[in-house]
Symmetry: none
Subunit: 181 residues, 4 copies
DNA sequence: AATGAATGAGGCTTCATTCAT
DNA sequence: CATGAATGAAGCCTCATTCAT
């Protein structure tokens, strides 16, 4: 693994386990097995390191979630599949999900990064819009629909990181029932 | 207003607006219009101040939410009413809700405080149990049901703090549809 | 006992037991069972309180030690008696002795107070001078003689605050042998 | 000189000249010509810095004092020689001696450090024991004998740091007369 | 590129002192 | 006189960042 990845891995682990305040650059360097100065060859500041981690995590998350969208499948299938993928990703990448939660409200994340992550959700929005047109999804503002389900799923996964298939089914069922017309 | 309340108000505002790390004791004192030392007459440390704010916010939240529970009403009514109260509280006390979100995962909150806040949700759990027995609520682990809805509602409110009655209706409808059998 | 004495007693106890640094005015007030402000009615500052305690302790010490000097007795008897009285005082007033030791080198003690305490030893110096003239005391600078014995006795008492009569005899014997011609 | 030594030298000077309370870390850093943070690369806290200085001073003192003990010499010679070495050390290292005096009673010195310094005096104790067996030293508890002489010598040196050879002779003579049978 | 000793601004906290009651 | 809440200067210590090697 590259030295850069070592640093990113050490950082995400420590931020999630101990919080931002308790994670010093020295501490990260130690876990990444490199000198403090080395970190500054890859990231110009702690803030930039956090933003980089945030951007990366978000992009991987949405890519994974939206990768399986297929316009040939039914809308219900696409939506359910998206949630399923989201859950799958969260269970396999707990640190990324927790890191996103940790910083999604933080003023440390630059406006630019926030916007970059937003755009990646456009395909999902389209699906919902079509669902509303077809009358199978509630006629509520799409952003509210997505926010509702995303909030529900994220909270559920964080509170129970060892979900089994039954739990996942319950979860997707609730998510679908919430938004279906 | 008492000096103690001044400090608590200044603190919750700054923690929510700027984050914990960016909110120094000096900064709080300035906003509370008192000397730094004065704060230590009321709270022995920054940590204790945060715990106090957390405990207070949580207790007010759950008291408000659960205040209207009435065993004579139908279960559906009780549940819907609870969510409605929760939303109402959140809209009227946005700082309390955001503060809770900010610290609910933080290691700064003492185990003792966490436990104190948990117990206040027992009445809600009972309602759900009864709902399941009556076959009107999905037969899913109660904690998962509550986590799901709470996560959904909290995310929704934070993303749209200026909800109108229609939005609230949509929200409670989704919440109910998600858990109803 | 007067409130002023309460304060002095509380202060000397705490300074000796916990050190100056660890003894706050609040702490003294608590032990003296009075308000913080009250202390400032009697002593204008912490420094003045310490100087007052120092002066008082030193004066009581030298008064006691020198009270029994009697020009009609032999020089040897006078000297031995003085040491005996010093030991006696130290054993009965351990806090005063320790307090003196604690602050005798401290820059907190004002020059004026230091001088005031010096003058009280003049009678002892005279005795020694006479002893040297009579050829029964070593012909060494008097201040050195006194410093030697005082240092020896103080160290001995502090290291063994529960001396019995035998110990005291040993001590005075050593003191005498050290300075006798 | 190493940066670490710079710090130790600056610290011992300031502690002795101004007292512990009046010697801030900032103050030491200034005299050591380094940043405040630098000091914490070498000593984890002010307390540890003081303990280190104390341990170092004590060890150098006892090493020097006891270095010349020689079982082939007479007991009287060994004892006199020890005092002479002690005086010599004190005159050449006035700050070390004053520093030891300043902290020997302080609760800031860790038990572990106190014990480490005690053990270095065992050889001296042995010599005294032999002296008592041979009937040339007073039959008094050895610790009392040592405490007496050490207290006397320390007080003498501190009160007259510019002793000449005659003064030293007087001093050792008094010390010997005090303890000899 | 890699390192980590050096730096000092800034954070939390203590405490001598004041002053309104 | 007695009180103790209020104050803020000053202390100890942390840590993001720099820079000489």
């Amino acid at each position: 693994m590259s030295k850069r990845d070592n640093i990113l891995n050490a950082a995400i682990y420590l931020f999630v386990e101990h919080g931002e305040q308790a994670t010093s650059m020295k501490c990260i360097a130690k876990r990444a097995e490199c000198g403090i100065g080395t970190m500054y060859n890859y990231f110009p500041s702690k803030e930039k390191l956090i933003n980089e981690l945030y951007l990366q995590s978000k992009i991987k998350y949405s890519n994974y979630m939206l990768s399986a969208l297929n316009t040939e499948d039914s809308i219900k299938y696409n939506i359910l599949h998206t949630w399923r993928k989201a859950i799958e990703f969260a269970l396999e990448n707990p640190y990324k999900i927790k890191f996103i939660e940790l910083f999604c409200q933080s003023p440390i994340i630059e406006e630019e990064v926030k916007n970059a992550t937003l755009s990646s959700f456009l395909p999902l929005i389209e699906i919902f819009e079509k669902g509303k047109t077809d009358g199978i999804v509630k006629n509520i503002d799409t952003l509210q629909l997505i926010t509702f389900v995303k909030g529900a799923i994220t909270a559920s996964i964080i509170s129970k990181p060892d979900m089994n298939p039954d739990d996942i089914n319950s979860l997707t069922q609730m998510a679908w029932d919430a938004i279906k017309e």
